[in-house]
Symmetry: D2
């Protein structure tokens, strides 16, 4: 098996690639109708970290794990030590404004100053966690909004959001960042306070240079050209991080690359075009739910999908592409672009993986490792982690 | 205040209108992220019926309550008696193929004959309930599907679905019906086994005359012309029932008429045009979730919205409309159509309601009745009903 | 007939309302499949102005007419005089980067400096027209993009767009403005260079205070909460103008208010909330195509729809709404909001119109005026105006 | 270069594959805003056939050409002879109900019996053409509908559609078929008379066995699972033909496989699963517009895309897939499915093509053939073909 032309030129970039895993991907998840539990599901943050470390051990791609507060509340120094012993480190800290009864009608946007303060304090606590774990990024998914026209004053909420974010921003350390995620809809159905990249961009621009936008690939209207937004946010210097996943309809949170692999290719192409690959300013993270598939394998498949698409995008003949583009040769430009996408990089990646003492087929290696059987045997009793845990 | 021209001609139709309430609308509901509990929420089917009966008492619009099995399992004869004492009756029985662990990968469509049998048996149990309650309709929302391409064999599942439905159909009594609901997506994200009206129509047509389609107004792709489907199903003699609600994005399950009142008007116009209004073959039901609003008031507002739009649609000057249509006068036809929609029927309805010894403003009457305070005081302890209850 | 409570308080606002008509609405239009011609269609800008003036004469709502270059090239001083004699004035000047063969692969974004210069020069010509007509606004709909992945370098195009816009911006007079319209898709199918409000906002913010965003109500992804964008752009001080129309699917360019009247109500509510009503900084314009309906009547119906929804939105009991919102009373807040929408303002508007010496029913008055018959008789020979004219 | 495992087993199927080209793909096309003309564009049906034959000569994939009446009206016997001399044959005949001024408000659905008769007669003429050309299929794209609520009586139109289709169906010869295409929207914006597969299915089922459904891959709502419909129509015995193209937003008519190659893979997988590949009952056709790319190359790329995806889908390890599906192993099933999609069949196809005396790279061979230069030189004067020609 020979590698595709140019493969050896891209291995440094591949070796540098790091994708952050969400701790919650290892816990149970589901739809509003049903959460199917599975044997071996972690019961605490330490077990989540162990599963994440297994993904990294077998893929070499996932050295960092994102936390979610309050789901992962524990002794954070002990957790950081535990992570280090397993070969990974703690990463982005995610706040939660959607599960406290007080936040039914808003948190950072709430009309009641007392509840806004409570929400701000929650974010201060998150920054305290960041200080303890050495995390750089505070990620805020603003899951606030309203269900009915007239229910809320959208304008007032937007202004209060700015005030709340400014207070949180002021608490950030020198090298810390605030990353504001946007989402088209859900859990609110009429309006969402940060529904699009434009709102996130406007809000973070009003804060300062340490505030960035998080782009979750599942958080857009049908038909949205997501790679355009990637391009634009990189151009504007405001792309802080990705939440990778894939979707057919809404925020399905499927494995990244599963629904539309070509879209993932196009997104990564724009990341490379805009200087975002292996750029510390742009965090690559997963945000997924493995409702019906094995969770650890689901995470492995996802980071491998990102790696495979990165390899394909790196192999693109950009000089030939530019020439075709500039001459208005639509067919040639598209052919060159598709040629990179259609190149099967998997055998070369398997060989290269072996050369780095990683299993050629990480998912198969996981299945042969006995790890799943072990955790199913060990993790008995207690309460499995989930979004409510 | 004078009533709109022609109002007296439509009051017989209005008096005949009956909308079925879903028992689960009175229980707690939410998104996959959070279910907000509220004081006074029913703890058992009897309390749900009591709340539904209150809606009927104050609106005169909701004499029937739909049940969901297993959520409403209880002594059904006692429940029927209870309902009768409160002035309502038990209606459609809804089955559930989405919450048993065995049904993770399908129920009526499952590749394993044992699990299919279990799912069929569940429906037989539902028909037993119908026999006990005197219900006519078995409603099946086929919440089955897959999340990933390749996960399932869609064709085999479709064939097995037919076999399973045929077995259930055979068990129906002479005057009972099977109503098959379709849904665009959720809880599955790649494929759904009954995703559109065409599939439901093809499946029920293969069963026999007692099988019909249920149209849930929230279960379509963005941009779908729902009233066209209403027209078509009535024309084909297969519209069995409506699940009314409204939505901005996905299956939001908001109060019917809240998101797009003009769409509700158009739907009811086609119902009237096709002979479906106050036609016993076409059941009007709600299927909604009151995540943030008062549940009883939410049901009241919803049946009132249906009534108001029915009144507007009945007031349409169909002779003038037909003349404008036939002459190709687009502006006039649209004006005549909009005139009915824009006519404010609310004062006339309030007067007419008073004439029938109903409160002019049912929601206000509810607020003044003390019922909410009473149930909040009484319903303490126990477990509030919800989708998992 | 009594007017709704509070109607007399809002007549000053109603009297101040002015909606700009697009000259091209009076020419023939259609889909890519067929343009149906109609008798009486204008053959030059002067006849378009005459039709627009007739709309204003009968509604009192449309004192200004937008031009499109090159479609409306003529002796602009003569045209301005003609307009003035008919009681209207010339307004926004629209440029065109989508019909010159040189612009097949871009205009202001083109990779070839020669073509960019040509496109910039076209806009300079437009500003010359503005100087001649006394127009304030140059509106740029950036109909540029690509059809296939790989066809174009989106990032480079975005940078070149900035450079081109900056050159055009520099040519603006002291009191002139540049308004940049965004559009989700069409005529390009893979990427559009200004596809969303965020991109338009970022581009105009980089230019200066005289650059604003134009919001066309038909230019969004399915499910987009448009009134949220209205709120946000007003909040950010960047809402320059509206292109009003309505749509069911894509950019259908139907009469405003025809597809979803409640959405129009919500949009105008946010305009009022944000101080945009009768604010000279926010131009109200139509941008519509009357493919199958009478064009003059279509424009009349549209401005009347805007007026009716403005009246309803002005009648909203904002104090009661705020109280309900602040107390978390979702049902009451929604009821108050819907009450304004459902209030039938048409009889009161007809009376008020009569009091201003306008016809109570402008469309009927037009039909009785003989104007249509007159133009059908007079406008014989020549070439009817259309998008290619 | 070695071929993928199993490649030799699929070459018989590949050799049998035949894709029909639309004559109109070689004429000029565009959006409602602009049609860009290109040198060498055919000026009559004979030149269109010549271009189509060139595609077949170089790819071996396109032996048949579909006609559109009235665009291709000519001496059909001469045209058939011309086609035969160039190595291709005439195929499906497409009717046109959207460009005659009489059809502004409908054709087969029109309320006026005179206009319905005219539309029916047009289809009789098409069947006469079929008799002359030896074509089997009459394809009807029912481009009828309305733009405004109230404009038309949808129910009456549906009934009249049935009557009209029945008259046309009666005229079919023994071995001829009627294929009814559905489309979500455009050119109508409120309602379309055959908007979905369910309507087409219901209408053709009411006609008889010679009536089938045409599935155009660009004619669905956002998010529609098209392969599900393919499966269902094959299962119901009603899939008559495909119109292949691709789209990002609406009916973009891009080259098939260009927007979402994985979707094309899934569609062809279901075709194979349901016995539709190389089944004479299921016609594979293209329906595309090459607005900005070279038209002949665009057709070549499209048939090659279909061939490549067919090869990938044929290579799927169905035994392993079934085993994984039946064991509920979601990750394995998806991996097996994706493995086929990711297999790069292009080198093996190039070798196989060479073995059949076809150019390894057909597009490059076309570029080197001088054909484009030749037609640009020869086809001077006259009127280039387009949708209006």
């Amino acid at each position: 098996m020979t590698a595709p032309t140019g493969f050896t030129d891209i291995t440094d970039e591949l070796a540098a690639q790091a994708i952050e895993l969400p701790s919650w991907a290892f816990g149970n998840s589901g739809t509003r109708f049903k959460v199917f539990g599975t044997p071996g599901t972690p019961r605490d943050p330490f077990e989540k970290i162990a599963d994440a470390a297994k993904v990294h051990e077998l893929t070499g791609l996932a050295p960092q794990v994102a936390l979610h507060i309050p789901w992962d509340r524990c002794d954070f120094e002990a957790l950081a030590t535990h992570a280090g012993q397993l070969g990974v480190r703690l990463g982005t800290v995610n706040s939660n404004t959607f599960q406290d009864d007080d936040f039914k009608f808003g948190a950072l946007t709430h009309v009641d100053e007392r509840i806004r303060s409570k929400a701000i304090d929650h974010h201060i606590e998150c920054i305290d966690v960041m200080d303890a774990t050495g995390s750089r990024d505070l990620k805020i998914w603003l899951a606030e909004g309203s269900n009915y026209p007239g229910q809320a004053d959208m304008r007032g909420r937007q202004d209060r959001l700015h005030d709340s974010l400014a207070k949180i921003y002021d608490r950030l350390g020198e090298s810390q960042r605030l990353v504001l995620e946007y989402k088209f809809f859900e859990p609110s159905f009429y309006h969402t306070d940060v529904p699009d990249w434009g709102t996130s961009f406007a809000q973070v621009s009003a804060l300062g240079d340490k505030a960035k936008v998080c782009l979750d690939t599942g958080h857009h209207a049908p038909g949205t050209n997501i790679e355009f937004i990637v391009m634009q946010l990189l151009r504007l210097g405001r792309l802080g991080s990705f939440d990778f996943n894939s979707r057919f309809y809404a925020d399905d949170d499927l494995m990244v690359g599963a629904a539309d692999p070509f879209q993932l290719f196009r997104i990564i192409h724009e990341v490379i075009r805009g200087g975002g690959l292996n750029n510390p300013d742009v965090a690559f993270m997963l945000d997924q739910c493995h409702n019906v598939e094995n969770k650890i394998e689901g995470q492995m498949r996802s980071v491998l999908n990102v790696q495979e698409m990165t390899a394909r995008a790196l192999l693109l003949d950009t000089a030939a592409l530019t020439a075709a583009q500039e001459s208005g040769d639509v067919i040639a430009a598209n052919d060159i672009f598709m040629d990179a996408f259609y190149t099967d990089v998997r055998p070369a990646l398997a060989e290269w993986r072996t050369s780095r003492r990683l299993p050629a087929n990480p998912v198969q290696a996981f299945r042969e490792s006995g790890y799943q059987e072990q955790i199913e045997a060990e993790r008995v009793g207690g309460t499995q982690a989930g979004w409510g845990a």
